[in-house]
Amino acid sequence: MADTPVREVVIIGSGPAGLTAAIYTARAGLEPLVLEGEPSSTSDQPGGQLMLTTEVENYPGFPEGVMGPELMMHFKAQAERFGAEVKTVKASKVDLSERPFKVWVGKDVDAEPTYLAKSVIVSTGAQSLMLGLDREVELIGHGLSTCATCDGFFFRDQEIAVVGGGDSALEEAMFLSRFASKIYLLVRRDELRASKIMQDRAMANEKIEIMWNTSLVEYVGDTKIEKVKIQNNVDESISDLDVTGVFIAIGHKPSTALFEGQLDMKDNGYLKTVPGRTATNIEGVFASGDVQDDYYRQAITAAGSGCQAALEAERWLEEQE
């Protein structure tokens, strides 16, 4: 459309990074547009990964801790207070090859672009990995879960499995121990990736049994999970495990598919930025948060880099005038 207005800045993503970038650019008078994503039961949703957690204990400013979803509501309210416009949509395509940059929303990616922008801040974060087994998608909500805080309640007094060996797997297992009678933690290797403090807490929890060198290989059950098949990775033997629920927490991958062939990426799919900065290989496009961070991956570091992206975008826009 010839009359599509050109926005100063479009921010893609509404986790801690995107909403911090929105607060800063809004206060700078740039009237940012935030594409916050669409509802989903994975971390890929308005508010981002923290919508799936309960208590956040390490975000500064909350000595008693704060609930993840509540924290993200505050981020959003603060951005809106300064005039950020937030839309509940996903970007379906971008064209960063010329300015103004083009962003599409919705299925019709052959139509005219939905939004035009002088600068773009990418903060699409990361989303949970799944195992990739047969019928995985159809079993979500039928015993298979990507969100312990949402679904733990339904497994009261039942035996369940958590797959994974990092901090988030242990955190889920601990949370689920409030409801389930027994939790098998399936760990692929003979060690945990999780931090020492989480390992100590999990080992001390009598409902959690760690099964080392164990992989989940098949979901069994017609309309919902009735049991699973597991493999011992040392002798490769297969056996049944009687659980009615399975929670997957095997890590995250950056949400960068949208930018393939346009923004430089590392081999692991994370966006590349100028060291210590948020500038990407395309002038006027900045990347912040987990989407460009394969090392820290914390709410506070994501928020910090959202602030960096906003300040860099603001200065870059000034230079263009």
């Binding site: 669409e38 509802p39 799936l52 919902k224």
Partner: protein, 109 residues
């Protein structure tokens, strides 16, 4: 008010209220402690407003309606169930985007 048209159901009025509706009713099972439920609620308010007359939106807080929740085998939050003349006709586990929900609803409107 956007949410004036959204029904709130509990164990006590669930069946009676659904039986009385002429249009299909999309029932959203949710809880305070469910993060993804919050994003979905915003989208359902929009749908309630835009599709007024074609579809009714109802909400069930599972903490206030334990038997209804068990009876309909809700194992995940949020879960949406579409009812027509009091009978369940579709079940959608998990939060979804507006387009996906409207596409599913179009079958029943």
């Amino acid at each position: 008010m956007a949410d004036a048209d959204i029904l709130t159901l509990t164990d006590d009025n669930f069946e009676m209220s659904l039986g009385m509706e002429e249009t299909p009713v999309l029932v959203d099972f949710w809880a305070d402690w469910c993060g993804p439920c919050k994003g979905l609620a915003v989208v359902l308010e929009e749908i309630a407003e835009e599709q007024a007359g074609n579809i009714k939106i109802a909400k069930v807080n599972v903490d206030d309606a334990p038997s209804t929740t068990i009876q309909h085998e809700v194992l995940s939050l949020p879960t949406m169930i579409v009812f027509k003349h009091g009978e369940p006709v579709a079940k959608i586990p998990g939060a979804q985007g507006k387009d996906t929900i409207l596409e599913i609803l179009s079958e029943f409107m």
